[in-house]
Symmetry: C2
Subunit: 417 residues, 2 copies
Amino acid sequence: MRKPIPIDEAIERVMEWCREGEKEYVSLEQCDGRILAEHVEATMPIPWFDRSPYDGYALVADATERASTHAPVLLEVVGTIGAGSVWDGTLAPNEAVKIMTGAAIPNGANAVVMVELTKEIEKDGKRFVQIKRKVNEGENISRVGEDMKQGEIVVEKGTVIHPGIVAVLATFGYDRVPVMKKPKVAIISTGSELLHVYEPLEKGKIRNSNAYMLQAQIRRVGGEPILFGKVADTFEHTLHVVQKALREADVVITTGGVSVGDFDYMPRVYEHLGAKLLFNKVAMRPGSVTSAAVFENKMLFGLSGNPSACYVGFELFARPFIKAMLGQPKRYLKKVQAVLQKDFLKPNPFTRFVRANVSYDDGMLHVEPVGKDKSNIVSSLAQANAFIVLPGGTRGFQAGNRVDVLLLHDEGDNVWS
Amino acid sequence: MRKPIPIDEAIERVMEWCREGEKEYVSLEQCDGRILAEHVEATMPIPWFDRSPYDGYALVADATERASTHAPVLLEVVGTIGAGSVWDGTLAPNEAVKIMTGAAIPNGANAVVMVELTKEIEKDGKRFVQIKRKVNEGENISRVGEDMKQGEIVVEKGTVIHPGIVAVLATFGYDRVPVMKKPKVAIISTGSELLHVYEPLEKGKIRNSNAYMLQAQIRRVGGEPILFGKVADTFEHTLHVVQKALREADVVITTGGVSVGDFDYMPRVYEHLGAKLLFNKVAMRPGSVTSAAVFENKMLFGLSGNPSACYVGFELFARPFIKAMLGQPKRYLKKVQAVLQKDFLKPNPFTRFVRANVSYDDGMLHVEPVGKDKSNIVSSLAQANAFIVLPGGTRGFQAGNRVDVLLLHDEGDNVWS
């Protein structure tokens, strides 16, 4: 009844439906970690006035024409310009103005000599600066637009805002920053075996860990999770909650209720809604009973109730869909190659994801499975930093083989395969 | 007057004063991205009741002793156990109970046969399951504590809580999670050249970008930034604001006011407070005029007003101090080696940090400086993902040289050098 399809094809079927989300404005103070919804442009040239790159003296270059160690030139220091202030006069050739790094070059001046090359002296109650070499016209002046022209694109849309980008936004006066709205992602838990985290244990039951795990996964990729809690194990209630979630969220994730067990209502829910089923089985372990469906441009993911399968299903299918809504070019987990440290001889017709630890040693990436790789052991999800990807249809792998590895806590990369 | 010290020594002088901060409790829903303040222990064995790892039939193994393809055994199906429910009776040898993945093994049963190996039939209005091979005692039963013993440490303190750890916390009933308190980090901007981001431009002035950049840097390493705004360019006001910040924060960062310009009050502020000066010059560029001082167990960092110098100063000195307060073993930017793609021939007595882009190509890390490397160009901070570290006292570097590189957006590593 359920026909498994290859992972690549499942991802493709999901991504055919992806669309870019909306934008909103947030304050500069709250924009870090969000995703730029527009290019950042230079709203002014940089520098936007001629300025001094050093502490020194602004002067008229011609006045130093004949300066030398033996015959230093003396210029009268007629003022001091701190960064941020402006000297109102116009400099005459026999005058200099002390100038701080970043301050505006005064009218009449056409060069700056660095403070380290000068000596200030007092004579007849006046201040003079002694200059021992010729200063060329234009020396030590940062000109308007020298670093950046007005209108230049500084950062492209789709970029995650890190501290260096915050600095650029501040420089260009973006006190409100256009960012992508966080896609709303509903989480619905099914399965009468689930207890709330604060409930006492009961025989036969387990605490609901997938909902909280998914919440953290959704936040990490830039979405806004909405917990819809646990539905009672009836078709009517499941349908009711899914319909409510579809009204409030862009993406609806259900966990559990997708195996061949007797109490699974999700296939009937899809059918009743009239959602277009994209797939209901993927040739992978864990997570073969993962499904995806589209309803009115919203995506429904039916993930396994098994924690590892749920984790993998989210990262493979929901992650790129959410990232695409955020306009991000890098949508998938980063894939690298590493050297397997242990035999892994189980043959499997399906592609396997093995929780593992990657380490960098002697210029090479090494990877080793984490503890027991049973998909129902939640502790190995805490300890893994990667999944080893073992293609199906092989007879297993030996220590020393190069294998593909998906990095779980990396920023992500641009391609899946 | 200011004696530059090597970077390593400056870091060491700061880290001599580091101390672990306090812990607090947050809800499970809000714990992701925080740092564990205690080990996470298994509060119960996993599984905590004998359970079925598959959909199948629970039975008494002896009853299948003589089962074969030719002489299948028929057991009466006397009930169904969904995940989360319990079957109250005790199984007799001629009986079976249908059981779902994860459900508790009923009393009397000592094995499970997978549903794929069986066939259910109806006879005389009763349900029977047909079994064609011997099932061994204990087969397909996950025993109490098989995966994890009660009291085992699952995740160590100091770990950043990622989604896999959230799943473990939920499983073990941690509805309140012990995390490290975010160190409070005050940001004080000095320099009369600074405009607020929303103010119109004025000649000679620039917008305050460092405060917002630092806010994002502080958040990224796990601190809680407190913006104290811009102080007027007087000694009294600077002192007043620094004293206020010291009362409210664990770390106080000032920017600007540390060059040899005329309007720098920070050295006098340190002196007036009676703060112990750790250094006031470091043999590096940008950021040579970086200072650090200790006052009543709180750390004061005086960073340059120049954006790149400010950025580097934070990452080198404030970052590890904050991470240490958070109890994190990995405190420094990750350092890797990469092949330089362009000559960089400027000699320099000081260690240089060159804003750069690292890329991974053909199994090798390559690194290339970003645009113009003038420390006053803020745009290159937005575009860089790394700093090339060029040790001082050399005559420059050529394309093809292997150089050290600090990764700016990585999770960090355990060592500085």
